[in-house]
């Protein structure tokens, strides 16, 4: 149930974290751990690639808000790539779109980052 995987590729102080599957009460702790590890390693600019995430609920939102707080404390950023319609909908309802920038591709997100 709730297939989930998470994986990170980093470059300097930024990192692309790729999540896949379902983000819910069962799997969100794994996403949280992955983000925390990256931040602890000094990767304060996080691009979270959600292209392969098929479902996310408020447990995922909470992880993102938590991650955002941590990177902001280090003057970092947390940006999202490719959330599906369901995820966009809950980001919009909760107004989190206003604090979590959304991009269509990792390239778009990184372009902003490396300039």
């Amino acid at each position: 149930m709730s297939d989930f995987s998470v994986d990170a590729r980093s470059d300097g102080d930024w990192v692309v974290v790729t999540a896949a599957g379902d983000i819910d009460v069962y799997t969100a702790p794994r996403l949280k751990r992955a983000l925390t590890e990256e931040i602890d390693r000094g990767h304060h600019h996080i691009v979270l690639d959600m292209t392969k995430v098929r479902f996310m609920d408020s447990t995922g939102l909470a992880v993102m808000v938590g991650g955002l707080k941590k990177v902001k404390a280090k003057k970092g950023t947390l940006e999202l790539v490719g959330p599906n319609d369901q995820i966009r909908r809950i980001l919009t309802i909760t107004d989190l779109v206003k604090i979590l920038p959304v991009h269509d591709s990792v390239e778009d997100a990184c372009r902003g980052k490396t300039t």
């Binding site: 009460v25 479902f55 609920d57 408020s58 447990t59 909470a62 938590g66 369901q86 309802i93 909760t94």
Partner: protein, 134 residues
């Protein structure tokens, strides 16, 4: 009301996916539009998450029961658990700085926003009830 289709789950995180797959299958079967099915999956996930969290807090292991009554013009959906409290009235969604992966307010607010007729009934536990247009 019609006879429900019912799913009963232990209050453990690993079963929240079963709840969604059940909700999606039943919703589609009864002609719920695909966008509303997506909302239904979120609401069920939130209700179960809240229940799992509350069971865990209160240290009880009674099952969570999800019932779908195939009524017209809307399905009536009910998530019943032996633990939990209704979210405060008026709370839509509060981006409370969550210390962990879950804060019960988030879920309740989302359910209310997605299904405005949602009721949270405290009855020695919590029953979340809402209707889903089909």
């Amino acid at each position: 009301m019609t006879d429900p289709v019912e799913l009963m789950l232990p209050p453990q995180p690993e079963f929240v996916g079963t709840a969604r797959i059940f909700a999606a299958a039943i919703g589609r079967h009864f002609g719920v539009d695909e966008e509303v099915v997506a909302d239904l999956k979120v609401a069920i996930s939130e209700a179960c998450t809240g229940a799992i969290w509350a069971h865990n807090q209160e240290g009880i292991a009674d099952p969570i029961v999800i019932r779908v009554f195939p009524d017209l013009p809307s399905l009536n959906v009910e998530v019943e658990s032996k633990a939990g409290q209704a979210p405060a009235e008026g709370v839509e969604w509060e981006p409370v700085t969550p210390s962990d992966t879950f804060h019960p307010l988030l879920g309740g607010g989302l359910i209310r926003t997605l299904f405005p007729d949602a009721e949270f009934i405290e009855n020695g536990g919590l029953t979340v009830r809402f209707s889903v247009p089909r």
